[in-house]
Symmetry: C2
Subunit: 257 residues, 2 copies
DNA sequence: GCCCATGATAGAACACTGTTCGACAAGCGA
DNA sequence: TCGCTTGTCGAACAGTGTTCTATCATGGGC
Protein backbone atom coordinates (compact mmCIF):
# COMPACT_ATOMS: atom_id res chain seq x y z
CA UNK A 1 0.00 0.00 0.00
CA UNK A 2 3.03 2.30 -0.16
CA UNK A 3 3.65 4.61 -3.06
CA UNK A 4 6.22 2.13 -4.36
CA UNK A 5 3.58 -0.30 -5.45
CA UNK A 6 2.22 2.34 -7.83
CA UNK A 7 5.51 2.89 -9.59
CA UNK A 8 6.22 0.31 -12.26
CA UNK A 9 9.80 -1.00 -12.15
CA UNK A 10 12.03 -0.08 -15.10
CA UNK A 11 11.92 -2.84 -17.65
CA UNK A 12 15.68 -3.42 -17.77
CA UNK A 13 15.96 -4.01 -14.05
CA UNK A 14 15.27 -7.71 -13.84
CA UNK A 15 15.35 -8.63 -10.22
CA UNK A 16 17.27 -11.78 -9.37
CA UNK A 17 16.44 -15.13 -10.82
CA UNK A 18 12.76 -14.70 -10.08
CA UNK A 19 12.34 -14.88 -13.79
CA UNK A 20 13.66 -18.40 -13.92
CA UNK A 21 11.19 -19.67 -11.38
CA UNK A 22 8.21 -17.43 -11.72
CA UNK A 23 8.67 -16.47 -15.29
CA UNK A 24 5.10 -17.29 -16.28
CA UNK A 25 2.97 -15.63 -13.66
CA UNK A 26 3.66 -15.07 -9.99
CA UNK A 27 1.39 -18.02 -9.25
CA UNK A 28 -1.58 -16.25 -7.77
CA UNK A 29 -4.94 -17.90 -7.25
CA UNK A 30 -6.23 -16.36 -10.45
CA UNK A 31 -3.23 -17.56 -12.40
CA UNK A 32 -3.82 -21.08 -11.12
CA UNK A 33 -7.49 -21.02 -12.05
CA UNK A 34 -6.77 -19.65 -15.52
CA UNK A 35 -4.12 -22.29 -16.10
CA UNK A 36 -6.53 -24.97 -14.93
CA UNK A 37 -9.20 -23.80 -17.38
CA UNK A 38 -6.67 -23.73 -20.19
CA UNK A 39 -5.50 -27.23 -19.34
CA UNK A 40 -9.07 -28.52 -19.07
CA UNK A 41 -10.05 -26.96 -22.39
CA UNK A 42 -7.01 -28.41 -24.04
CA UNK A 43 -6.83 -31.93 -22.62
CA UNK A 44 -10.03 -32.64 -20.74
CA UNK A 45 -11.06 -33.45 -17.21
CA UNK A 46 -9.05 -36.63 -16.87
CA UNK A 47 -5.82 -34.76 -17.57
CA UNK A 48 -6.23 -32.34 -14.68
CA UNK A 49 -4.12 -33.49 -11.77
CA UNK A 50 -2.43 -31.27 -9.27
CA UNK A 51 1.00 -32.43 -10.37
CA UNK A 52 0.23 -31.83 -14.02
CA UNK A 53 -1.18 -28.39 -13.34
CA UNK A 54 1.83 -27.45 -11.22
CA UNK A 55 4.13 -28.60 -13.97
CA UNK A 56 2.20 -26.39 -16.38
CA UNK A 57 2.87 -23.44 -14.09
CA UNK A 58 6.52 -24.31 -13.62
CA UNK A 59 6.16 -25.08 -9.94
CA UNK A 60 5.52 -27.96 -7.56
CA UNK A 61 2.21 -29.58 -6.71
CA UNK A 62 2.39 -28.74 -3.04
CA UNK A 63 2.58 -25.02 -3.82
CA UNK A 64 -0.88 -25.00 -5.30
CA UNK A 65 -2.41 -26.04 -2.01
CA UNK A 66 -1.35 -22.80 -0.44
CA UNK A 67 -3.57 -20.88 -2.86
CA UNK A 68 -6.58 -23.10 -3.52
CA UNK A 69 -6.76 -25.35 -0.47
CA UNK A 70 -7.65 -28.54 -2.30
CA UNK A 71 -8.54 -29.83 -5.71
CA UNK A 72 -12.19 -29.44 -4.78
CA UNK A 73 -11.62 -25.80 -3.95
CA UNK A 74 -9.92 -25.33 -7.27
CA UNK A 75 -12.88 -26.83 -9.11
CA UNK A 76 -15.21 -24.45 -7.26
CA UNK A 77 -13.19 -21.56 -8.61
CA UNK A 78 -13.07 -23.05 -12.11
CA UNK A 79 -16.85 -23.39 -12.13
CA UNK A 80 -17.39 -19.80 -11.10
CA UNK A 81 -14.89 -18.58 -13.65
CA UNK A 82 -16.73 -20.34 -16.48
CA UNK A 83 -20.10 -19.10 -15.24
CA UNK A 84 -18.61 -15.62 -15.45
CA UNK A 85 -18.31 -15.99 -19.21
CA UNK A 86 -22.09 -15.97 -19.56
CA UNK A 87 -23.97 -12.87 -20.65
CA UNK A 88 -27.63 -12.40 -19.75
CA UNK A 89 -29.68 -9.70 -21.50
CA UNK A 90 -31.73 -7.04 -19.74
CA UNK A 91 -35.30 -8.17 -19.14
CA UNK A 92 -37.89 -7.51 -21.84
CA UNK A 93 -41.27 -8.48 -20.35
CA UNK A 94 -42.92 -9.19 -23.66
CA UNK A 95 -40.19 -11.59 -24.73
CA UNK A 96 -39.48 -13.45 -21.49
CA UNK A 97 -40.05 -16.91 -22.98
CA UNK A 98 -37.67 -16.32 -25.85
CA UNK A 99 -35.15 -14.75 -23.47
CA UNK A 100 -35.33 -17.76 -21.20
CA UNK A 101 -34.69 -20.04 -24.15
CA UNK A 102 -31.69 -17.90 -25.03
CA UNK A 103 -30.35 -18.36 -21.53
CA UNK A 104 -30.75 -22.11 -21.90
CA UNK A 105 -29.02 -22.06 -25.28
CA UNK A 106 -26.14 -20.04 -23.88
CA UNK A 107 -25.76 -22.47 -21.00
CA UNK A 108 -25.64 -25.37 -23.43
CA UNK A 109 -23.06 -23.61 -25.58
CA UNK A 110 -20.88 -23.01 -22.54
CA UNK A 111 -21.19 -26.67 -21.61
CA UNK A 112 -20.09 -27.65 -25.09
CA UNK A 113 -17.22 -25.18 -25.13
CA UNK A 114 -16.01 -26.58 -21.80
CA UNK A 115 -17.23 -30.18 -21.88
CA UNK A 116 -15.94 -30.87 -18.39
CA UNK A 117 -17.98 -28.16 -16.72
CA UNK A 118 -21.23 -30.03 -16.31
CA UNK A 119 -19.42 -32.87 -14.61
CA UNK A 120 -17.63 -30.45 -12.33
CA UNK A 121 -20.90 -28.78 -11.41
CA UNK A 122 -22.34 -32.01 -10.03
CA UNK A 123 -22.57 -31.79 -6.29
CA UNK A 124 -21.50 -28.15 -6.29
CA UNK A 125 -23.91 -25.32 -5.54
CA UNK A 126 -22.58 -22.37 -7.53
CA UNK A 127 -22.46 -19.49 -5.08
CA UNK A 128 -19.38 -17.63 -6.26
CA UNK A 129 -19.59 -13.94 -7.19
CA UNK A 130 -20.10 -14.65 -10.88
CA UNK A 131 -22.81 -17.20 -10.16
CA UNK A 132 -24.69 -14.70 -8.02
CA UNK A 133 -24.59 -12.00 -10.68
CA UNK A 134 -25.76 -14.54 -13.25
CA UNK A 135 -28.69 -15.73 -11.13
CA UNK A 136 -29.74 -12.17 -10.41
CA UNK A 137 -30.09 -11.37 -14.09
CA UNK A 138 -31.92 -14.55 -15.07
CA UNK A 139 -34.36 -14.18 -12.21
CA UNK A 140 -34.98 -10.59 -13.27
CA UNK A 141 -36.15 -11.89 -16.65
CA UNK A 142 -38.55 -14.36 -15.08
CA UNK A 143 -39.99 -11.82 -12.69
CA UNK A 144 -40.40 -9.31 -15.49
CA UNK A 145 -42.32 -12.00 -17.34
CA UNK A 146 -44.86 -11.98 -14.54
CA UNK A 147 -44.01 -15.29 -12.91
CA UNK A 148 -44.89 -15.43 -9.21
CA UNK A 149 -41.95 -15.73 -6.78
CA UNK A 150 -42.03 -19.45 -6.24
CA UNK A 151 -42.43 -20.33 -9.90
CA UNK A 152 -39.66 -17.93 -10.86
CA UNK A 153 -37.12 -19.44 -8.48
CA UNK A 154 -38.12 -23.04 -9.07
CA UNK A 155 -38.42 -22.51 -12.80
CA UNK A 156 -34.90 -21.12 -12.85
CA UNK A 157 -33.44 -23.96 -10.80
CA UNK A 158 -35.31 -26.63 -12.73
CA UNK A 159 -34.26 -25.15 -16.05
CA UNK A 160 -30.61 -25.38 -15.04
CA UNK A 161 -31.09 -28.98 -13.97
CA UNK A 162 -32.90 -29.81 -17.19
CA UNK A 163 -30.22 -28.30 -19.40
CA UNK A 164 -27.57 -30.09 -17.36
CA UNK A 165 -29.40 -33.38 -17.79
CA UNK A 166 -29.33 -32.85 -21.54
CA UNK A 167 -25.73 -31.75 -21.86
CA UNK A 168 -24.49 -34.55 -19.64
CA UNK A 169 -25.66 -36.96 -22.28
CA UNK A 170 -24.26 -34.77 -25.01
CA UNK A 171 -20.79 -34.36 -23.56
CA UNK A 172 -20.64 -37.49 -21.50
CA UNK A 173 -20.06 -40.43 -23.80
CA UNK A 174 -16.44 -40.41 -22.67
CA UNK A 175 -14.38 -37.95 -20.69
CA UNK A 176 -11.49 -37.96 -23.10
CA UNK A 177 -9.52 -35.02 -24.34
CA UNK A 178 -10.92 -33.13 -27.31
CA UNK A 179 -9.48 -34.65 -30.44
CA UNK A 180 -6.25 -36.52 -30.60
CA UNK A 181 -3.39 -37.16 -28.25
CA UNK A 182 -2.36 -33.62 -27.55
CA UNK A 183 -0.95 -32.39 -30.83
CA UNK A 184 -2.70 -29.57 -32.59
CA UNK A 185 -5.10 -31.73 -34.54
CA UNK A 186 -7.70 -29.00 -34.53
CA UNK A 187 -10.90 -28.93 -32.53
CA UNK A 188 -13.06 -30.66 -35.09
CA UNK A 189 -11.34 -33.97 -35.73
CA UNK A 190 -13.87 -36.52 -34.56
CA UNK A 191 -13.46 -36.45 -30.82
CA UNK A 192 -16.11 -38.08 -28.70
CA UNK A 193 -19.22 -35.97 -28.42
CA UNK A 194 -18.99 -34.32 -31.79
CA UNK A 195 -21.93 -34.59 -34.20
CA UNK A 196 -20.30 -37.12 -36.52
CA UNK A 197 -19.47 -39.73 -33.91
CA UNK A 198 -22.79 -39.11 -32.17
CA UNK A 199 -24.51 -39.93 -35.46
CA UNK A 200 -22.40 -43.06 -35.77
CA UNK A 201 -23.38 -44.17 -32.30
CA UNK A 202 -27.03 -43.46 -33.05
CA UNK A 203 -26.83 -45.52 -36.23
CA UNK A 204 -25.32 -48.40 -34.31
CA UNK A 205 -28.12 -48.18 -31.76
CA UNK A 206 -30.73 -48.19 -34.53
CA UNK A 207 -29.21 -51.24 -36.20
CA UNK A 208 -28.97 -53.10 -32.92
CA UNK A 209 -32.56 -52.28 -31.97
CA UNK A 210 -33.80 -53.25 -35.41
CA UNK A 211 -32.11 -56.61 -35.00
CA UNK A 212 -33.98 -57.48 -31.81
CA UNK A 213 -36.68 -60.17 -31.89
CA UNK A 214 -39.91 -58.56 -32.99
CA UNK A 215 -42.11 -60.61 -30.73
CA UNK A 216 -40.34 -59.50 -27.55
CA UNK A 217 -39.83 -55.89 -28.62
CA UNK A 218 -42.71 -54.95 -30.90
CA UNK A 219 -42.70 -51.25 -30.02
CA UNK A 220 -38.96 -50.69 -30.11
CA UNK A 221 -38.32 -52.51 -33.36
CA UNK A 222 -41.05 -50.41 -34.93
CA UNK A 223 -39.38 -47.23 -33.67
CA UNK A 224 -35.83 -48.26 -34.50
CA UNK A 225 -35.42 -45.61 -37.16
CA UNK A 226 -36.22 -42.87 -34.70
CA UNK A 227 -33.23 -43.86 -32.60
CA UNK A 228 -31.03 -42.75 -35.46
CA UNK A 229 -32.31 -39.21 -35.10
CA UNK A 230 -29.42 -37.57 -33.30
CA UNK A 231 -29.58 -33.94 -34.36
CA UNK A 232 -28.58 -32.50 -31.00
CA UNK A 233 -29.60 -28.94 -31.86
CA UNK A 234 -33.09 -29.98 -32.81
CA UNK A 235 -33.38 -32.29 -29.82
CA UNK A 236 -32.39 -29.43 -27.56
CA UNK A 237 -34.89 -27.05 -29.13
CA UNK A 238 -37.53 -29.69 -28.56
CA UNK A 239 -36.57 -29.92 -24.90
CA UNK A 240 -36.63 -26.22 -24.12
CA UNK A 241 -39.84 -25.82 -26.12
CA UNK A 242 -41.47 -28.45 -23.96
CA UNK A 243 -40.07 -26.95 -20.78
CA UNK A 244 -40.81 -23.29 -21.42
CA UNK A 245 -44.27 -24.08 -22.76
CA UNK A 246 -45.04 -26.12 -19.68
CA UNK A 247 -43.68 -23.39 -17.45
CA UNK A 248 -45.72 -20.68 -19.15
CA UNK A 249 -48.87 -22.79 -18.86
CA UNK A 250 -48.30 -23.27 -15.18
CA UNK A 251 -47.66 -19.55 -14.78
CA UNK A 252 -50.95 -18.77 -16.49
CA UNK A 253 -52.78 -21.28 -14.29
CA UNK A 254 -51.19 -19.78 -11.20
CA UNK A 255 -52.15 -16.29 -12.23
CA UNK A 256 -55.75 -17.36 -12.73
CA UNK A 257 -55.94 -18.92 -9.27
CA UNK B 1 8.69 -77.96 -9.92
CA UNK B 2 10.40 -79.96 -7.17
CA UNK B 3 8.93 -83.09 -5.67
CA UNK B 4 7.77 -81.06 -2.74
CA UNK B 5 4.69 -80.02 -4.54
CA UNK B 6 3.65 -83.65 -4.75
CA UNK B 7 3.70 -84.22 -1.03
CA UNK B 8 0.31 -83.52 0.47
CA UNK B 9 0.40 -81.11 3.39
CA UNK B 10 -0.45 -82.53 6.82
CA UNK B 11 -4.14 -82.24 7.55
CA UNK B 12 -3.76 -79.99 10.58
CA UNK B 13 -1.87 -77.45 8.55
CA UNK B 14 -4.81 -75.82 6.88
CA UNK B 15 -3.31 -73.73 4.19
CA UNK B 16 -5.47 -70.77 3.51
CA UNK B 17 -9.02 -71.66 4.19
CA UNK B 18 -10.08 -72.62 0.70
CA UNK B 19 -13.37 -73.81 2.03
CA UNK B 20 -13.86 -70.68 4.05
CA UNK B 21 -13.05 -68.60 1.06
CA UNK B 22 -15.33 -70.05 -1.52
CA UNK B 23 -18.15 -70.99 0.75
CA UNK B 24 -20.18 -67.88 -0.09
CA UNK B 25 -20.52 -68.13 -3.81
CA UNK B 26 -18.13 -69.54 -6.38
CA UNK B 27 -17.48 -65.97 -7.51
CA UNK B 28 -19.50 -65.75 -10.71
CA UNK B 29 -20.17 -62.56 -12.61
CA UNK B 30 -23.60 -62.31 -11.05
CA UNK B 31 -22.20 -62.79 -7.56
CA UNK B 32 -19.72 -59.98 -8.20
CA UNK B 33 -22.40 -57.61 -9.44
CA UNK B 34 -24.68 -58.39 -6.52
CA UNK B 35 -21.87 -57.84 -4.06
CA UNK B 36 -21.03 -54.57 -5.77
CA UNK B 37 -24.61 -53.36 -5.47
CA UNK B 38 -24.69 -54.35 -1.80
CA UNK B 39 -21.45 -52.54 -1.14
CA UNK B 40 -22.59 -49.46 -3.03
CA UNK B 41 -25.91 -49.35 -1.20
CA UNK B 42 -24.14 -49.73 2.11
CA UNK B 43 -21.15 -47.43 1.78
CA UNK B 44 -21.58 -45.34 -1.34
CA UNK B 45 -19.77 -44.83 -4.61
CA UNK B 46 -16.49 -43.65 -3.13
CA UNK B 47 -16.12 -46.92 -1.20
CA UNK B 48 -16.26 -49.13 -4.28
CA UNK B 49 -12.75 -50.12 -5.25
CA UNK B 50 -11.73 -53.37 -6.82
CA UNK B 51 -9.68 -54.34 -3.80
CA UNK B 52 -12.47 -53.57 -1.39
CA UNK B 53 -14.99 -55.51 -3.44
CA UNK B 54 -12.66 -58.48 -3.70
CA UNK B 55 -12.13 -58.44 0.04
CA UNK B 56 -15.89 -58.46 0.47
CA UNK B 57 -16.03 -61.60 -1.65
CA UNK B 58 -13.11 -63.22 0.13
CA UNK B 59 -10.87 -63.17 -2.91
CA UNK B 60 -8.20 -61.09 -4.59
CA UNK B 61 -8.69 -58.01 -6.70
CA UNK B 62 -7.10 -59.51 -9.78
CA UNK B 63 -9.65 -62.32 -9.83
CA UNK B 64 -12.49 -59.92 -10.53
CA UNK B 65 -10.95 -58.89 -13.81
CA UNK B 66 -11.48 -62.34 -15.19
CA UNK B 67 -15.25 -61.96 -14.84
CA UNK B 68 -15.98 -58.29 -15.47
CA UNK B 69 -13.07 -57.10 -17.57
CA UNK B 70 -12.64 -53.74 -15.89
CA UNK B 71 -14.26 -51.51 -13.34
CA UNK B 72 -16.08 -49.79 -16.15
CA UNK B 73 -17.51 -53.10 -17.29
CA UNK B 74 -18.60 -53.82 -13.75
CA UNK B 75 -20.42 -50.49 -13.56
CA UNK B 76 -22.21 -51.28 -16.83
CA UNK B 77 -23.52 -54.46 -15.23
CA UNK B 78 -24.45 -52.67 -12.01
CA UNK B 79 -26.45 -50.12 -13.98
CA UNK B 80 -28.38 -52.76 -15.86
CA UNK B 81 -29.06 -54.68 -12.66
CA UNK B 82 -30.60 -51.63 -10.98
CA UNK B 83 -32.64 -50.80 -14.08
CA UNK B 84 -33.99 -54.33 -13.82
CA UNK B 85 -35.63 -53.46 -10.52
CA UNK B 86 -38.03 -51.10 -12.27
CA UNK B 87 -41.59 -52.14 -13.03
CA UNK B 88 -43.51 -50.48 -15.84
CA UNK B 89 -47.31 -50.96 -16.09
CA UNK B 90 -49.15 -52.13 -19.18
CA UNK B 91 -50.26 -49.23 -21.36
CA UNK B 92 -53.61 -47.63 -20.70
CA UNK B 93 -54.20 -45.15 -23.55
CA UNK B 94 -56.51 -42.90 -21.58
CA UNK B 95 -54.04 -42.48 -18.75
CA UNK B 96 -50.76 -42.15 -20.61
CA UNK B 97 -49.81 -38.85 -19.00
CA UNK B 98 -50.30 -40.15 -15.50
CA UNK B 99 -48.50 -43.36 -16.39
CA UNK B 100 -45.55 -41.41 -17.72
CA UNK B 101 -45.41 -39.44 -14.50
CA UNK B 102 -45.42 -42.71 -12.60
CA UNK B 103 -42.46 -43.89 -14.64
CA UNK B 104 -40.62 -40.69 -13.78
CA UNK B 105 -41.48 -41.07 -10.10
CA UNK B 106 -40.24 -44.65 -10.11
CA UNK B 107 -37.00 -43.61 -11.74
CA UNK B 108 -36.50 -40.95 -9.11
CA UNK B 109 -37.21 -43.42 -6.32
CA UNK B 110 -34.66 -45.83 -7.74
CA UNK B 111 -32.12 -43.01 -7.91
CA UNK B 112 -32.79 -42.21 -4.27
CA UNK B 113 -32.62 -45.84 -3.20
CA UNK B 114 -29.27 -46.17 -4.98
CA UNK B 115 -27.86 -42.65 -4.84
CA UNK B 116 -24.79 -43.63 -6.84
CA UNK B 117 -26.71 -44.83 -9.86
CA UNK B 118 -27.25 -41.50 -11.57
CA UNK B 119 -23.54 -40.76 -11.39
CA UNK B 120 -22.75 -44.18 -12.76
CA UNK B 121 -25.16 -43.68 -15.65
CA UNK B 122 -23.27 -40.60 -16.87
CA UNK B 123 -21.55 -41.43 -20.10
CA UNK B 124 -23.11 -44.85 -20.25
CA UNK B 125 -25.83 -45.73 -22.75
CA UNK B 126 -27.95 -48.37 -21.02
CA UNK B 127 -28.29 -51.17 -23.54
CA UNK B 128 -28.26 -54.22 -21.32
CA UNK B 129 -31.11 -56.74 -21.43
CA UNK B 130 -32.96 -55.14 -18.55
CA UNK B 131 -32.63 -51.67 -20.06
CA UNK B 132 -34.07 -52.91 -23.34
CA UNK B 133 -37.09 -54.50 -21.66
CA UNK B 134 -37.62 -51.30 -19.70
CA UNK B 135 -37.47 -49.06 -22.75
CA UNK B 136 -39.86 -51.32 -24.64
CA UNK B 137 -42.53 -50.96 -21.98
CA UNK B 138 -42.19 -47.19 -21.54
CA UNK B 139 -42.31 -46.61 -25.26
CA UNK B 140 -45.42 -48.77 -25.46
CA UNK B 141 -47.13 -46.37 -23.08
CA UNK B 142 -46.19 -43.33 -25.15
CA UNK B 143 -47.28 -44.92 -28.40
CA UNK B 144 -50.55 -46.02 -26.85
CA UNK B 145 -51.04 -42.39 -25.83
CA UNK B 146 -51.04 -41.45 -29.48
CA UNK B 147 -47.65 -39.77 -29.69
CA UNK B 148 -46.09 -39.90 -33.14
CA UNK B 149 -42.90 -41.95 -33.47
CA UNK B 150 -40.38 -39.16 -33.19
CA UNK B 151 -42.06 -37.48 -30.25
CA UNK B 152 -42.40 -40.80 -28.45
CA UNK B 153 -38.73 -41.67 -28.70
CA UNK B 154 -37.45 -38.17 -28.02
CA UNK B 155 -39.95 -37.61 -25.24
CA UNK B 156 -38.76 -40.79 -23.60
CA UNK B 157 -35.08 -39.94 -23.89
CA UNK B 158 -35.60 -36.35 -22.78
CA UNK B 159 -37.67 -37.44 -19.82
CA UNK B 160 -34.86 -39.68 -18.63
CA UNK B 161 -32.38 -36.84 -19.01
CA UNK B 162 -34.68 -34.44 -17.20
CA UNK B 163 -35.21 -36.76 -14.26
CA UNK B 164 -31.48 -37.41 -14.11
CA UNK B 165 -30.78 -33.69 -14.07
CA UNK B 166 -33.09 -33.36 -11.10
CA UNK B 167 -31.84 -36.32 -9.11
CA UNK B 168 -28.21 -35.37 -9.68
CA UNK B 169 -28.85 -32.26 -7.66
CA UNK B 170 -30.86 -34.22 -5.13
CA UNK B 171 -28.30 -36.94 -4.52
CA UNK B 172 -25.20 -35.06 -5.46
CA UNK B 173 -24.38 -32.71 -2.63
CA UNK B 174 -21.64 -35.12 -1.62
CA UNK B 175 -20.85 -38.67 -2.62
CA UNK B 176 -20.47 -39.90 0.94
CA UNK B 177 -21.75 -43.08 2.44
CA UNK B 178 -25.30 -43.15 3.74
CA UNK B 179 -25.27 -42.36 7.42
CA UNK B 180 -22.34 -42.76 9.68
CA UNK B 181 -18.97 -44.38 9.47
CA UNK B 182 -20.05 -47.93 8.92
CA UNK B 183 -21.76 -48.90 12.15
CA UNK B 184 -25.46 -49.59 12.05
CA UNK B 185 -26.57 -46.04 12.73
CA UNK B 186 -29.78 -46.59 10.82
CA UNK B 187 -30.65 -45.21 7.41
CA UNK B 188 -32.15 -41.96 8.66
CA UNK B 189 -29.39 -40.31 10.63
CA UNK B 190 -28.80 -37.11 8.73
CA UNK B 191 -26.63 -38.24 5.88
CA UNK B 192 -26.05 -35.82 3.04
CA UNK B 193 -28.96 -35.65 0.65
CA UNK B 194 -31.68 -36.39 3.15
CA UNK B 195 -34.52 -33.93 3.61
CA UNK B 196 -33.30 -32.49 6.92
CA UNK B 197 -29.84 -31.51 5.78
CA UNK B 198 -31.22 -30.34 2.44
CA UNK B 199 -33.50 -28.00 4.34
CA UNK B 200 -30.53 -26.80 6.39
CA UNK B 201 -28.56 -26.07 3.26
CA UNK B 202 -31.54 -24.25 1.76
CA UNK B 203 -31.89 -22.13 4.88
CA UNK B 204 -28.23 -21.23 4.73
CA UNK B 205 -28.63 -20.25 1.08
CA UNK B 206 -31.64 -18.08 1.94
CA UNK B 207 -29.80 -16.30 4.76
CA UNK B 208 -26.78 -15.68 2.59
CA UNK B 209 -28.85 -14.34 -0.28
CA UNK B 210 -30.86 -12.13 2.05
CA UNK B 211 -27.60 -10.65 3.33
CA UNK B 212 -26.43 -9.51 -0.11
CA UNK B 213 -26.43 -5.80 -0.93
CA UNK B 214 -29.89 -4.84 -2.13
CA UNK B 215 -28.71 -2.40 -4.74
CA UNK B 216 -26.64 -4.98 -6.58
CA UNK B 217 -29.10 -7.86 -6.19
CA UNK B 218 -32.58 -6.36 -6.10
CA UNK B 219 -34.34 -9.39 -7.57
CA UNK B 220 -32.55 -12.07 -5.59
CA UNK B 221 -32.84 -10.40 -2.23
CA UNK B 222 -36.55 -10.03 -2.84
CA UNK B 223 -36.82 -13.73 -3.63
CA UNK B 224 -34.56 -14.94 -0.82
CA UNK B 225 -37.38 -16.68 1.03
CA UNK B 226 -38.17 -18.81 -1.98
CA UNK B 227 -34.68 -20.28 -1.88
CA UNK B 228 -35.61 -21.88 1.43
CA UNK B 229 -38.29 -23.90 -0.33
CA UNK B 230 -36.62 -27.28 -0.54
CA UNK B 231 -39.51 -29.76 -0.54
CA UNK B 232 -37.98 -32.14 -3.03
CA UNK B 233 -41.18 -34.08 -3.63
CA UNK B 234 -43.11 -30.98 -4.52
CA UNK B 235 -40.26 -29.65 -6.65
CA UNK B 236 -40.21 -32.91 -8.54
CA UNK B 237 -43.94 -32.91 -9.10
CA UNK B 238 -43.59 -29.40 -10.45
CA UNK B 239 -40.91 -30.56 -12.87
CA UNK B 240 -42.79 -33.53 -14.31
CA UNK B 241 -45.97 -31.47 -14.48
CA UNK B 242 -44.15 -28.92 -16.57
CA UNK B 243 -42.53 -31.56 -18.74
CA UNK B 244 -45.53 -33.79 -19.36
CA UNK B 245 -47.79 -30.82 -19.97
CA UNK B 246 -45.35 -29.43 -22.47
CA UNK B 247 -45.01 -32.82 -24.13
CA UNK B 248 -48.76 -33.31 -24.39
CA UNK B 249 -49.16 -29.84 -25.89
CA UNK B 250 -46.56 -30.58 -28.49
CA UNK B 251 -48.23 -33.90 -29.23
CA UNK B 252 -51.56 -32.18 -29.77
CA UNK B 253 -49.93 -29.60 -32.05
CA UNK B 254 -48.24 -32.36 -34.02
CA UNK B 255 -51.48 -34.29 -34.39
CA UNK B 256 -53.23 -31.20 -35.73
CA UNK B 257 -50.54 -30.64 -38.35
C1' DG C 1 22.34 -2.24 8.61
C1' DC C 2 20.92 -6.25 10.74
C1' DC C 3 17.39 -9.97 12.11
C1' DC C 4 13.60 -12.36 12.56
C1' DA C 5 8.72 -13.36 11.50
C1' DT C 6 6.01 -14.30 7.82
C1' DG C 7 4.51 -15.51 3.21
C1' DA C 8 5.55 -18.70 -0.11
C1' DT C 9 7.82 -22.70 -2.36
C1' DA C 10 8.58 -27.58 -3.02
C1' DG C 11 10.77 -32.34 -2.23
C1' DA C 12 9.54 -36.50 -0.14
C1' DA C 13 6.45 -39.50 1.66
C1' DC C 14 1.74 -41.74 2.65
C1' DA C 15 -2.13 -44.23 1.61
C1' DC C 16 -4.71 -44.99 -1.96
C1' DT C 17 -6.40 -46.16 -6.91
C1' DG C 18 -7.16 -49.30 -11.54
C1' DT C 19 -4.77 -52.51 -14.03
C1' DT C 20 -1.35 -56.07 -15.76
C1' DC C 21 1.86 -59.85 -15.45
C1' DG C 22 3.14 -64.21 -14.47
C1' DA C 23 3.21 -68.04 -11.54
C1' DC C 24 0.18 -71.35 -9.92
C1' DA C 25 -3.77 -74.78 -9.12
C1' DA C 26 -7.92 -77.50 -10.21
C1' DG C 27 -10.85 -80.03 -13.45
C1' DC C 28 -11.17 -82.74 -17.51
C1' DG C 29 -10.91 -84.97 -22.11
C1' DA C 30 -7.72 -88.08 -24.49
C1' DT D 1 -0.80 -89.68 -17.04
C1' DC D 2 -0.33 -86.01 -19.99
C1' DG D 3 -1.66 -81.57 -21.62
C1' DC D 4 -4.81 -77.90 -21.85
C1' DT D 5 -8.24 -74.85 -20.61
C1' DT D 6 -10.32 -72.17 -17.00
C1' DG D 7 -9.74 -69.73 -13.12
C1' DT D 8 -7.13 -67.63 -9.07
C1' DC D 9 -4.29 -64.18 -7.06
C1' DG D 10 0.30 -62.03 -4.93
C1' DA D 11 3.21 -58.63 -6.53
C1' DA D 12 4.28 -54.81 -9.00
C1' DC D 13 3.53 -50.39 -11.87
C1' DA D 14 2.22 -45.95 -12.68
C1' DG D 15 -0.62 -42.79 -11.21
C1' DT D 16 -3.75 -40.03 -7.79
C1' DG D 17 -4.83 -36.23 -3.74
C1' DT D 18 -2.87 -34.68 0.23
C1' DT D 19 0.27 -33.59 4.20
C1' DC D 20 4.62 -32.87 6.56
C1' DT D 21 8.57 -30.64 6.74
C1' DA D 22 12.50 -28.00 5.44
C1' DT D 23 13.91 -24.16 3.03
C1' DC D 24 14.04 -19.69 0.87
C1' DA D 25 13.10 -14.63 0.11
C1' DT D 26 11.53 -10.57 1.62
C1' DG D 27 9.71 -6.67 4.26
C1' DG D 28 9.10 -4.30 8.68
C1' DG D 29 10.92 -3.20 13.24
C1' DC D 30 14.84 -2.24 16.09
Amino acid sequence: MTANSQIPPPPWQRLPDRQARRRREPISQEAIVSAAVRLLDREGLAALSMRRLAEELGTGAASLYWHVGSKDGLLDLVLDQVIGEGQVPDPDPARWREQLKDVARAQRRASLRHPYIVRISIGRIPMGPNALRYSERVLAILRAGGLPPRLAVQGYLLLIATVNGFTIDETGVTDGAPAGTGDSAGPDSAGPGDPASAQDAANMARDYIASLPRDLFPTMTGLADEFAFADADERFEMLIDIFVDGLARRAAANAAT
